[in-house]
């Protein structure tokens, strides 16, 4: 019998595809942004005057949207990059969601509870509900 549990192989397969898609999207989005193919919301030439500020002041000065607000501006080069980074940060949740039914089917309640708890923690972080403000 293989020492690698089945759910680990499934997790690896989903992780591989998710990472591949996320990284290629990041490379494409950054190329479009840096080469000026997609117009950014904040002009690249303005950035040196802004990137030394704390994140909160940067947002206020640049007029950048808070939380998930960037989803409305995916036609802008800088926000398309955020989509790629958000996808990369979401892959773990997707992989955990994929292995949850495997543990449930086997009756591994403790492992299933742990997987479910991790999904809740990651989704809570992603929701923006925990991010608050200064």
């Amino acid at each position: 019998m293989s020492p690698v549990p089945a759910e680990q192989t499934v997790y690896a397969r989903w992780l591989e595809w998710g990472t591949r898609v996320g990284l290629w999207l990041l490379i494409a989005a950054f190329a479009a942004y840096a080469l000026g193919v997609l117009e950014p919301q904040v002009e690249l030439s303005r950035l040196p005057a802004l990137w030394g500020l704390p994140a909160e002041r940067y947002q206020a000065m640049a007029g950048a949207p808070a939380g998930w607000g960037w989803l409305r501006f995916l036609h802008k080069g800088d926000h398309l990059n955020l989509l790629a980074l958000a996808l990369l940060s979401l892959i773990t949740v997707v992989c955990y969601l994929r292995i949850l039914p495997i543990h449930l089917r086997r009756g591994e309640r403790l492992l299933a509870a742990m997987v479910l708890s991790q999904i809740v923690v990651l989704l809570a972080a992603a929701s923006g509900a925990l991010a608050g403000g200064h």
């Binding site: 020492p3 690698v4 549990p5 759910e7 680990q8 192989t9 997790y11 690896a12 397969r13 992780l15 998710g18 990472t19 996320g22 990284l23 990041l26 490379i27 989005a29 950054f30 942004y33 840096a34 690249l44 030439s45 950035l47 040196p48 005057a49 990137w51 030394g52 500020l53 704390p54 994140a55 909160e56 940067y58 808070a66 800088d78 990059n81 955020l82 980074l85 958000a86 990369l88 940060s89 979401l90 892959i91 773990t92 292995i99 403790l110 492992l111 742990m114 708890s117 991790q118 923690v121 990651l122 809570a124 972080a125 992603a126 923006g128 925990l130 991010a131 608050g132 403000g133 200064h134």
Partner: protein
Amino acid sequence: MRRSSLLLIALLHAAPALAANGGATPWWIWPIALFVLSLALGVLAVVAGVGGGVLFVPIVSGFFPFHLDFVRGAGLLLALCGALSAGPSLLRDGLASLRLGMPLALLGSISAIGGALLGLALPTEAVQVALGAAILGIALVMMKPPGSTLAGAPQPDALAAALGMHGVYREPAGGQDSPWAARRTPGGLAVFALIGALAGMFGLGAGWANVAALNLLMGIPLKLSVGTSGFVLSVIDSSAAWIYLNRGAVLPVLVAPSVIGVMLGARVGVRVLRMVSASAVRRLVVVVLFVAGLRAILKGLGVWL
């Protein structure tokens, strides 16, 4: 090696003056500089066996013009992308264990969220000084070579048995199966909670600490510790990265060239690994960490801006 060390130190010495003049320097200089630095860090990280984030955050926050908020966000995403890329093959080949990593990742990710929130709420100078102190501590930890202190047949403790933190590990070289089991699990969980908080607060990733905690404290075989560390890091950094994303502390112009550079550097590093002495590179990393840690403390205290 000596020539590249001198070049790196010279670059680090010259960077603050350029950074202080950041407003006058064309914007595109910085992504190119980040790409080159991250490429070098990617090589060093693989050869020295550390995550990229632990080198990236102190160097970029100390010597580049970006605010610490953005550097920490980038450090987390950099470490996350590295762990995600390495994860599939490690998991498939049994060099990482989900069952071992899941409880540690759950606790670590909760504390990473707390660490990220705290780091973004504290004054920048205080975080910079604490970052410097943490980096100096990491440099001291790295001076000790890894190697398990636990001997004898592996028997899981009660908590590890309940959580299923045991299994069989197949040696990649000989194909021999050897059983493993987590020990000192309550202490291990506590350490991972601390690692998560530090990773979230400073954006350091967590590879440098995960391996030591798994191997030295919990008695996990070294190769399985290294592989599982990547999985745990991917979960911890995902949680903390969301706090930085939602707080607007992620700048694509900083993150993308760094991620691309470090990933390419890691590929080069795998080849370089065969040609250079890993212990010599590890010593170089310790020196760089000492310099970057001191720089962070002096910058935070307003002594060397």
